[in-house]
Symmetry: C2
Subunit: 317 residues, 2 copies
């Protein structure tokens, strides 16, 4: 039988899970609702069981599960100190899954796992010093220096969305003012568009991107998001000197409408030093699951297999 793992990415609204085999092929994707607390744990458990059976029918032997989640995650103990959207506090997520499932389970941080995956088989392959800026509903970063992911003293590193970009600026849902996230997150772009221009209905950042060049309000709101990102990347460049900054998450789906303007702003702001290279994520929304799979394989005797994975391959049923 071929070795495999189940990789699970727990989000604030959805749990995404898939089987990844030892050759690095992702298959059998399933999703479930994430309503927080014990419900989300039950959904994760059920997805892992279902996918394990599907894998078995395919001749795959699931040896471990890898689970990644937002929040303050201690990968060493498998506990989640705090995850606001999921209602978890000092929660032993590993014990809640490993026991009932009878499987080894790794527990990791979603964005740091995505950073691990981008380095392993995505946009940051072969790069030892880079930052992945995950531009989702909120914004978080995976910071890699000298090949090592930065966790920080309390596993809280990477809160790039709450760097103060405009002191005393726009209120952020977090309670502070002027946070990067208040201008440039997937939730901020449509919120700011609606605030400036009540007439048109937009539900997401993609709608605003669709109006670029047509609607001056969209141009302005997007321009302000890009400029805030330029300041944020400028700050982390000064502090960390990365060779590369990868833009991921939903907002990165805007592609060249994001990458080009951020590059130009960054070059303008840095003045006396070269800008780090900017790239779009190549793993997209699956980055967290790829990271979870890499972390899960590390628990197994087949762990070395991940070194042979050279690019993301999905045959998802």
């Amino acid at each position: 039988m071929t070795a495999a793992v189940v990789a699970v990415d727990i989000g604030g609204t959805t749990v995404k899970a898939s089987v990844v085999d030892e050759r690095g092929v992702r298959r059998h994707q399933r999703t479930g609702p994430s309503e927080g607390g014990a419900d989300t744990v039950a959904v994760v458990r059920s997805l892992i069981s279902t996918l394990r059976e599907a894998a078995l029918a395919d001749g795959l032997d699931v040896l471990a599960a890898g689970v990644v989640t937002p929040g303050l995650v201690d990968a060493a103990t498998g506990t989640v100190a705090y995850a606001s959207n999921l209602g978890w506090r000092d929660f032993d997520l590993r014990a809640a899954l490993a026991g009932p499932l009878g499987l080894p389970v790794s527990v990791g941080h979603d964005v740091r796992a995505a950073g691990r995956a981008e380095r392993h088989l995505g946009a940051a392959r072969g790069t030892d010093d880079f930052v992945l800026l995950q531009l989702g509903t909120g914004i978080a970063a995976a910071v890699v220096t000298a090949g090592t992911l930065v966790g920080g003293a309390g596993s809280a590193a990477g809160e790039a969305g709450h760097m103060p970009v405009y002191p005393d600026g726009e209120p952020c849902p977090c309670g502070k003012r002027g946070c990067l996230e208040a201008y440039a997150a997937g939730a901020a772009v449509p919120r700011r568009y609606r605030a400036a221009h009540g007439a048109r209905e937009v539900s997401g950042a993609a709608d605003v991107v669709g109006l670029l060049g047509v609607d001056p309000v969209a141009d302005r709101v997007w321009g302000e998001a890009v400029r805030a990102l330029g300041f944020g990347v400028s700050t982390l460049t000064m502090l960390l000197d990365p060779a590369l900054v990868v833009l991921g998450g939903g907002l990165a789906q805007a592609g060249d409408a994001l990458l080009g303007p951020v590059e130009r702003t960054l070059t303008e702001l840095l003045v006396w030093r070269e800008a780090p290279e900017l790239r779009l994520s190549t793993l997209g929304p699956a980055a967290g699951q790829w990271g979870a799979a890499i972390e899960a394989f590390a628990l197994t005797a087949a762990g070395g297999c991940v070194r042979s994975w050279s690019h993301p391959t999905s045959v998802v049923a």
Copy 2:
């Protein structure tokens, strides 16, 4: 004979050198002018020779020299890729010293070496995740995560003084606008005071601190420096989650007039997370030399001796 090293801290105006013996006692301090280029190299060489003789007369055997400098420093090769104030570009500083002196020479970055020293025997003892903010004429940082100093892809990490704190704010001598350094460096505080209040002569930040509570302009300029530092520390807290931030350099001589206000500002700005601990440097202006001594001993068979150093001891002649 007792083993010793010569430790040299090259600054933009002064070279400071001392002998440090294997018991961690610093002695025989000497300084010389730093006018850049080959002149500074000659001064460094001469200080090392003089101190080596003084040490020998004291029964100390100088086994190596440690030299630290600002700029883009590659410690592995001993070269300085760029140091603007010293006029060095792709300069093999180690070769320029080690050959003529017939001594092993370590070459390091001044602020990173200071960070190493604060961790070894200063304010950051026993702390694996911290940032040293060196508030001198300019501002630079030593970033330590999981016990490792962050160098970055091009040895340019730690340029904390040029994080953009106020977008499109005050012009910085570097050519950018709104840099932390434009508000809170040792050079910025008296410059901003003079710009606001031509009547009174102040030559340094200490003069402005001396006017606090007496001169409302001093209060305002200092308050703005403190607030800019609060934003800077808030940003690096979000990104790196340090347990501790050490304030060093000339401005830290202000003591409680700096520490208390920065602490209060930081607590106010962070809102939903605890602030990292803030401390003043305990090694002060000697931090770079202590770091140079630690790096120099690492080149010798006596290197293990530094583990026994528990606090800075200076008997300087």
